[in-house]
């Protein structure tokens, strides 16, 4: 299953992913972050939304290990992770980890870019480069 990348509101996210950049929208008028992407700022109504590159880093918010398979493209077990962006906790991303592994809330995660059927998308995996503060709540 590959993402549809030609939606007028969300296409720039995947265009950036092709260049291995993780981006979110920021409003040029009120300076707030908008995610999920849209055409007008939900905070102030401005159409002056631009795409800002953010660090490929986050902390683990929650996860589930899927055991019962429902789709041929996704053999089980696999783990779905929900990640808070490290600099913008209101921005969350989904990631897919094959199999299951020991995870803890608040642990550091990093984005990598994967190719699925010719479409590049960010994915999130455990950041093994830095020792995490596992067990602690992520910033709220």
């Amino acid at each position: 299953m590959i993402p549809f990348v030609d939606d007028v509101d969300t296409k720039p996210f995947f265009d950036a992913a092709r260049d291995h950049r993780l981006v979110v929208q920021r409003c040029g008028s009120c300076a707030q972050i908008a995610h999920l992407p849209l055409g007008l700022c939900p905070h102030c109504g401005s159409g002056d939304l631009s795409w800002e590159t953010v660090r490929p880093a986050g902390v683990l918010h929650t996860w589930t290990v899927v055991v019962r398979q429902v789709h041929q493209d996704y053999p089980t077990p696999y783990t779905i992770v929900l990640v808070d962006h490290i600099d913008h906790p209101s921005v969350r991303f989904i990631g897919h980890i094959a199999g299951e592994r020991s995870l803890a809330p608040g642990q550091l995660m990093r984005a990598e870019f994967i190719d699925r059927g010719g479409v590049v998308m960010p994915n999130w995996c455990v950041d093994t480069s830095t020792r995490s503060d596992s067990g602690e709540d992520p910033p709220s």
Binding site: T62, W63, V67, H71, L82
Partner: protein, 383 residues
């Protein structure tokens, strides 16, 4: 109010239209009305049976008001609210409200979408941010939400098991329930495999072929009806606590996953009804997955936020407890009619005709689905 349901099964062998028609005829008859007394229809937007489809199948000569309510399982209480509004505004006198589906032999919601699609998402669905990662079903969403509840509050799967067992015990007294004949022990629950951890098979609701229907009319008309009066004290819908778009997956972007729009529904509903949780005798909680019950116990004020697990383990949910729940077995064990059968059972409690009757029940809380938006209503005996 009149109520009617078909049998609940895994393979009805009937069309969704036939199921809807049977439930509607049963509800009209139950109310002591004639088919032609129905002048309005409110349906769930997800129902494949349209307003004119059911009118034609019932042989109605005229329909003068209709509407639909979006939101799948979140719709039914809102549908009743829409019917009440139509009657109150003078747009209708007698409203048929129904939900019909072949949820097991036809389209199975739990299987996830996208099996045919080559590229998923776009067009405002935002599915492109979720489904390509293998996040495909409502059960996986609830697993993510409940794990967060566990992280923040130390909630337990034992309390989910207690909710599943409670619903099954009520189903065991209900001959209409899909799993009414099957007893369940704690060991049975534990022995079933994990589906999406921490949720096991019996944390998931049934898939059901069936239909339920409700007739809503004015109090004046209902007084002359065939049944004891059941008054719709208040209804409420709410999209709140972190507005999110689309059908389901973007709820995972909500600032706090342990906040649900059912808390917004509760605020509105209690204010409109002029009572609080202390005034509720029995409740039918929407239970597509066991965590929805636990979080609604908190949101509707039966315990404080974060104490749902302890409360569920306290015996409060049992017959004779402070708030008996899902007295027909709920989505988990009676059948999954997308929330409409919860309203039917609520009416039975007010009439005193439930198979797990709460002695002297004068008020019943009925809730509809979550987590995107939600709705609920309060039923009471003759005002």
């Amino acid at each position: 109010m009149g109520i009617g349901s078909t049998d609940f099964s895994k393979a009805s062998g009937r069309s969704v239209l036939t199921l809807a028609t049977s439930a509607a005829r049963a509800a009209i008859s139950d109310a002591g009305l004639q088919i032609d007394d129905v002048d309005a229809v409110i349906r769930c937007e997800n129902d494949i049976v349209g307003h004119n489809d059911i009118a034609h199948a019932l042989g109605l000569r005229e329909l003068s008001y209709w509407g639909s309510t979006p939101g799948g399982g979140a719709a039914p209480s809102g549908m009743i609210g829409q019917a009440v509004a139509a009657v109150t505004a003078g747009l209708a006198t007698t409203v048929l409200v129904y939900r019909s589906l072949n949820g097991r032999s036809g389209e199975r919601y739990g299987q996830g979408a996208g099996h045919e699609a080559r590229a998923i998402g776009g067009f405002g669905s935002y599915d492109e941010f979720f489904m390509p990662y293998g996040l495909l079903t409502p059960g996986q969403v609830w697993a993510l939400i409940f794990r967060r509840h566990m992280i923040e509050f130390g909630s337990t799967t034992e309390s989910l098991r207690e909710i599943a067992l409670t619903c099954r015990r009520r189903a065991n007294a209900n001959p209409r329930a899909q799993l009414g004949h099957k007893l369940m022990t704690a060991e049975d629950y534990d022995n079933e495999p994990i589906i999406s951890d921490p949720l096991r098979k019996f944390d998931f609701c049934l898939e059901t072929d069936g239909a339920s229907a409700v007739i809503v009319t004015s109090a004046e008309r209902a007084r002359d009806g065939a049944q004891p009066m059941c008054t719709i004290t208040a209804t409420a819908q709410s999209a709140s606590h972190g507005m999110q778009p689309a059908v389901m997956f973007p709820v995972l972007m909500r600032g706090s996953l342990v906040e649900q729009p059912s808390a917004g529904v509760a605020d509105l509903l209690y204010r409109r009804a002029g009572i609080g949780p202390d005034g509720i005798d029995v409740a039918q909680f929407y239970d597509c997955f066991t965590p929805t019950v636990l979080m609604q116990l908190e949101d509707y004020g039966f315990c404080t936020k974060g104490e749902g697990s302890d409360f569920a383990m306290s015996g409060a949910l049992e017959l004779g407890g402070s708030i008996p729940i899902n007295t027909a077995g709920g989505n988990l064990s009676e059948g999954y009619i997308h929330g409409m059968s919860h309203i039917v059972e609520g009416v039975r409690q007010i009439r005193g005709s439930s198979t797990s009757q709460v002695d002297g029940a004068k008020t019943c809380l009925v809730t509809s689905g979550l987590p995107v938006v939600s709705s609920a209503l309060i039923l009471s005996g003759s005002a």
